[in-house]
């Protein structure tokens, strides 16, 4: 027998935060390594938002017009950052379906580590990757006349991290429910596009018919997209009439929510799906 094993398990007796962190860390690192090896995924993740910003955004600008120096592309920029983050994060989380299909999920699930550490690591990995993709969209800001300040960049990164963490956890949970690869594309189409369309990424959420307003209010992404736009607008000299026109802020039961409340909603969403994901992978046969 080799000597090396004997004393170690004594350390593992109870909960060890260091061990949990190491586990989450290695899962996080794997997500990053895989991401850098998938060039096609990076490129396709960039193309779609660029299309939305420069084709749809620029195309609609003559129709929407300009108010107080703000036009539709400036309205769209934070929306496009959000879209990029949302898509990348959900797909990162849902890559658990591939992990299952190719067996690697089993390597993780049979290891003597907690499910929570694995899910947190996965969510952190997805969040990092998605935030990088979202940050890449910020490079387009000068082309549509949005001014970036160091503070704004930090704020956008922070909101993106929170938002993508929540969405990766959501993606992991969805993936835990999907047993077959065939169902994956269908489920994604059914979830992803409605969630993006109803999030306020592409049009202001003010003055909507009641049914549409209600749908946007129950979409958790709404509470992540709005803070992004408010932060971006706050860093520009946006006159009040433009703020009114491109309605920022989400009103719930007549109350306009402060940014911090919106972020708490997103954090709660993250916590909920983190917990559900851990439970989904916790059952033995």
């Amino acid at each position: 027998m080799t000597v090396a094993t004997a004393p170690r398990s004594a350390v593992r007796d109870g909960f060890s935060l260091a061990a949990e962190a190491r586990t989450a860390g290695v899962v996080w690192r794997r997500e990053l390594i895989r991401f850098t090896r998938q060039r096609a995924r990076i490129v396709s993740g960039l193309v779609q938002p660029v299309l939305f910003l420069f084709v749809l955004g620029v195309g609609l600008t003559p129709l929407v017009g300009e108010t107080g120096g703000v036009d539709f592309t400036q309205f769209m920029l934070p929306g496009v950052v959000a879209m990029s983050v949302i898509t990348t994060a959900i797909f990162s989380g849902a890559s658990v379906v591939w992990d299952r299909e190719f067996g690697f999920l089993r390597e993780m699930l049979v290891a003597p580590v907690s499910r929570a550490a694995l899910v947190v690591g996965k969510a952190a990995g997805g969040a990092t990757v998605a935030t990088l993709q979202g940050a890449a969209m910020l490079l387009l800001a000068p082309f549509v006349g949005v001014r970036l300040t160091p503070l704004l960049v930090l704020q956008v990164l922070a909101v993106s991290l929170l938002m993508s963490f929540a969405l990766t956890a959501f993606g992991v949970f969805v993936a835990s429910r999907i047993q077959r690869m065939e169902s994956f594309q269908v489920v994604m189409q059914l979830l992803l596009f409605p969630m993006i369309f109803l999030s306020g990424a592409m049009f202001p959420l003010t003055g909507l018919p009641a049914w549409l307003a209600a749908l946007t209010r129950i979409n958790p992404l709404t509470y992540a997209v709005d803070p992004l736009r408010r932060l971006v607008f706050a860093a520009q000299d946006v006159p009040p009439e433009a703020l009114a026109r491109f309605g920022t802020g989400v009103t719930l039961f007549g109350v306009r929510l402060p940014v911090i409340t919106e972020l708490v909603v997103v954090a709660a969403f993250a916590l909920l799906f983190l917990t559900l994901s851990v439970r989904a992978f916790g059952r033995p046969e």
Partner: protein, 341 residues
């Protein structure tokens, strides 16, 4: 919690050499009305190569899953590396290495990256990781592919890498579930040489399942499992000795009639798919009295055979092992999935 205290004490002091690596008492698993495993008891000594032999669906995989804490027993107890699989699943998992039928590597990572991932999950001390990686890759002869992406590996190489990975954290018991399914014959031989070497050099106990007769010969002891029950358990030599006698194999014009006539003449007769087996005490002399018993039924072929594991299996289960290769489907699915990606 008397048993937990004992387990903890054992963990600190190390195991006495006499404690079995695997100890199973009255183990059972029921899925609704289906009894997959029934009252299974056995123990595996430290440093032993122990094979579970049985057809697909006999309960091999269910048993191995319970021992690896992946399935909960519905009856009985099992201790692996000194720990109870239900009371201390995490302890058990720390002490075992697992190689499944289906691949569980990340193909987008290199061999070394796969191993480093495993080292963290199994808490291999950081100072030892590099040396262990070099060691296990040497053991399975993959040292030169250390930095290659796993997607460039052949099926045999991938399986060897999985074995290397399962050994990385110096487990007490290595579980191999059908380790050679889907591999070509040459690779299978190679794999068995590896397994024996692991036992000799790493001192690890090896528990494996197989439905290939020829492979079970490599094991120190074999448990034959059928319909969820162990029907025989011994060394390959002892099992053959228990089946005991030699067999005269006949191919006749009418095997059914031949069997009936031989039975009427007082012979012990078995009927495999391709002829009639007559059990005799001594294979050298006996052909002469058999022929009259056939009552002029033409014999196309006759040969004397010493017992093999196939006979042992037939003897204990009353039928031949079906070599259906139940894994073919999932390999095909994986291939399709890989192409779609």
């Amino acid at each position: 919690m008397g048993s937990a205290t004992t387990a903890a004490a054992t963990a600190v002091t190390g195991h006495p050499d006499s404690a079995p690596a695997v100890d199973v008492r009255g183990l059972g698993k029921r899925f609704g009305d289906l009894e997959a495993v029934v009252d299974v008891s056995f123990s595996v000594h430290r440093g032993e190569v122990f094979a579970f032999l049985g057809p697909n669906g006999a309960g091999k995989s269910t048993t191995i899953k319970m021992l690896c804490t992946l399935a909960r027993p519905t009856a009985g107890t099992a201790r692996v590396a000194g720990y109870d699989v239900v009371a201390s699943p995490r302890r058990v998992r720390e002490r075992i290495g697992l190689v499944f039928q289906d691949q569980t590597l990340d193909e987008q990572l290199t061999a070394e990256e796969n191993l480093r991932f495993h080292a963290v999950l199994y808490d291999v001390p950081r100072a030892e990781v590099d040396a262990r990686i070099t060691r296990v890759l040497d053991l399975v002869d993959l040292a030169d592919r250390r930095t290659s992406l796993v997607s460039t590996f052949s099926g045999g190489m991938a399986r060897r890498l999985e074995i290397a990975r399962a050994l990385l954290h110096t487990p007490d018991v290595l579980f191999l579930d059908e380790p050679t399914v889907g591999l070509d014959p040459q690779t299978r031989v190679r794999m068995w040489e590896d397994v024996r070497r692991l036992r000799d050099e790493e001192g690890v106990t090896i528990f494996l399942t197989t439905h290939y007769m020829d492979e079970a010969e490599y094991a120190d002891r074999i448990a034959i499992i059928d319909h969820g029950r162990i029907v025989a358990l011994d060394t390959p030599a002892a099992l053959k000795a228990r089946v005991g006698r030699d067999v005269v194999h006949l191919a006749t014009a009418d095997d059914e009639a031949a069997a009936t006539r031989l039975r009427a003449a007082g012979y012990e007769v078995q009927t495999p798919a391709d002829g009639v087996d007559v059990v005799v005490d001594d294979g050298e002399a006996p052909a002469a009295p058999i022929v009259p018993a056939l009552d002029r039924l033409p014999v196309r072929q006759a040969r004397v055979r010493r017992p093999t594991l196939d006979d042992v299996f037939l003897h204990f289960t009353g039928r031949e092992i079906r070599d259906t290769g139940g894994d073919g489907m999932s390999f095909a699915r994986k291939y399709m999935a890989a192409r779609r990606r």
